[in-house]
Subunit: 213 residues, 2 copies
């Protein structure tokens, strides 16, 4: 079953690249992982670099799926804005905590994040994908949502892009701190004070009263 | 001159580790870099891992020196607070732009940042140092400064730690974006809107009027 072998090779490559980096990953080990001869690997991938590119290509699809799952896809900001029109601290907390949960505990996401981190200097496409996953995509989506909330009077007048940076920048700093230390309790504490501060500095009294009524 | 050889080996190791990672760095190449025999390397370092540890040890001192150079050392927050008592947007901009400048253009810092990034999963000490350099140290320092500015009425009442996250989190997100793409103009644009937004949401009118008079 050639297609399964190909997919198995991509799985194995993703794991080894995330664990040992490009230089520490060999075609021989990957062949052993999926139980084929080293020479058979080349029926599916021309080179180790081609295997890496296959992993990145698949990762790109998963990045898009991840954004959808977290409700931060930019496909339809208008539809999302109607959800976010009734935004409250709980809502923002859920988005940020969903990302934190995935960042720390989703094995697939952790492997992908490590792989992109390790490959970013050698393979520019990996760096682009990493930035897209953790910065560009969330910021673009949030800017659009916050623009609508500012227009609707639920948020105080402000630059929507700056508002998105004020929301997402601290979340990223907290994720960086939590990252590999598994300092999860501290991360959750900081997330709590960040979200409370963001609400106090950005959400209007009218919107807050709306929540309470 | 044994001491120069040792220091030369550390320099060469830092460059190669930043460029190729641990697995992609060989004792043989390092020996060639400094013009000694492979076996002579072992007079200075027991193993490749020992060389890495030497690089990290030296990096730790440089991280402290960097914080001093940027005026974000936590040695004496009281002394710093008197400087920051007259803080204005220009001042904050200078700190953030100093970091951006170093992040993108200081070869030594760029190599160190790459090395720590690549080593963070294999060597926990590298991850700790990376987080200290880019998150923990700046946040701890800023929390103390902002606490004093809030007490002095220059900043609006707020949680100082949340205020530090609101200042530094977006800077980190912007640095991540600028990172390897050399998207420097875009980074400076975002830094400008972030700093203006931070001033508007945190600095009191009294402090702003003080600046203007």
């Amino acid at each position: 079953m050639r297609r399964d072998t190909r997919s198995g090779l991509l799985d194995a490559a993703q794991i080894r690249l995330a664990e040992h980096g490009y230089a520490g990953t060999s075609i021989r080990d990957l062949a052993a992982d999926v139980g084929i001869k080293e020479s058979s690997v080349y029926k599916h991938f021309r080179s180790k670099q081609a295997l890496l590119e296959g992993v990145l290509e698949r990762a790109e699809e998963r990045v898009a799926a991840t954004a959808q799952a977290l409700g931060v896809s930019v496909d339809d900001p208008d539809a999302a804005a109607s959800t976010y029109a009734t935004i409250d601290l709980g809502h923002l907390t859920a988005v940020a905590e969903g990302f934190l949960q995935m960042w720390l505990h989703d094995e697939e996401f952790v492997a992908l994040r490590r792989l992109l981190t390790l490959e970013q200097y050698r393979t520019p496409a990996a760096g682009t994908l990493l930035r897209q996953l953790v910065v560009t995509q969330p910021l673009a989506f949030q800017s659009q949502i916050f623009a609508r909330l500012i227009d609707a009077g639920a948020f105080r007048p402000a630059n929507p892009e700056a508002t998105a940076l004020a929301f997402w920048g601290p979340v990223l700093a907290i994720l960086t701190l939590a990252g590999e230390q598994r300092a999860e309790a501290e991360a959750r504490r900081l997330l709590g004070i960040h979200l409370e501060h963001f609400r106090a500095t950005h959400v209007t009294d009218a919107a807050t009263q709306g929540e309470e009524s």
